[in-house]
Amino acid sequence: MDEEILVKKLKARDQKVFQDFVNEYKDKLFRLAMGFVHDSFLAEDIVQDVFVKLWQNIDSWELGNAKLSTWLYKVTVNHALNVVRSKKKTSNVVDISQFVRESDDGGIEIQIPDNEKNPHNKLENKELAGILRKAINTLPKKQRIAFVLRQYQNMSSKEIAEVMDLSVSNVDVIIHRAKKNLQKQILKLMK
């Protein structure tokens, strides 16, 4: 649907159009929020808040502003960052000994748990989620946002540049640095 028509219908409080809009974007925003909070309950709360905010403030929306989807991504990023700021938990170093075993040639293998067979899957995923949260949250703000938009939304540099109000070349540099720093942090946390 054309954005102008969409906004008009949303301003007219068309519930059906709003429901379709929510269904179109809910998973995208959920994944984006997951990239910051790594907790499905928190991520869902964030998505709910964003859509409620959109519904409440759609009257003040003016065409000619950024695209509605870009606005949604920006609001989700900011809200997720605020949630992360208010939640400070998990230790710095996570024990991954349960994933590690000696291989036949004397080396070390790390086995990724099988979701179906492993009854402790939830706990292990929690630990990995903790590592990711810690590692990503230690990145400088711009690097964090750019990396999450790329990793969790599979956005192109151009799309990321729109959301972050940056140039495309700047985004590429930021993502390169983000990856470098992230590797350092992940390996530090998984000692």
């Binding site: 429901q19 959920f30 991954i96 990724i112 989620a129 990711l132 990856k179 992230l182 390996l187």
Partner: protein
């Protein structure tokens, strides 16, 4: 490629960001070097989990939750507006009642004063007195209106 060079590029190897030649050199190095392989496996474990998260979906009833919250917010707003209206009406009614009672008391007081004045033949111009009171009352209403 040496270990230090490989270690610097592990994450770019994971994401396939390197050119073909570098990808091949690192792949070959990892096959031969257990230390670098271990580092790479640790990194890949975390990044694989990020990929899993990036494919997750919101729960099916998310729309219902959002719809419910919107309905709650709307009913709260209506309730607040209704309470504000009732409050305003109540304050206005209380002020009007106070003015009305005040004017009744004033009228009774003046009538009594006139009676006393008449008894003592001090004040026999009753009409004059009523006019004075009316002027006072109008001034009071004006002050009230200003507020």
């Amino acid at each position: 490629m040496k270990c230090a060079q490989v270690k610097n590029k592990l994450i770019f190897y994971y994401y396939g960001d390197l050119d073909e030649s570098q990808m091949r050199q690192i792949r070959e190095h990892l096959e031969q070097c257990p230390t670098c392989r271990r580092e790479y496996n640790k990194l890949a474990l975390a990044l694989d989990y990020a990929n899993t998260e990036a494919q997750m979906s919101a729960s099916g009833d998310l729309w219902n939750k959002i719809n419910q919250r919107i309905a709650q917010t709307s009913s709260k707003k209506v309730k607040i507006l209704w309470l504000r209206s009732v409050e305003t009406i109540a304050v206005a009614a209380a002020i009007a009642l106070a003015v009305f009672i005040g004017s009744l008391i004033g009228r009774v007081y003046i009538e009594q004063s006139y009676q006393v004045a008449n008894d003592h033949e001090i004040y026999d111009d009753y009409e004059n007195l009523i006019e004075t009171f009316s002027n006072f009352n109008q001034t009071a209403y004006l002050v009230f209106d200003d507020n």
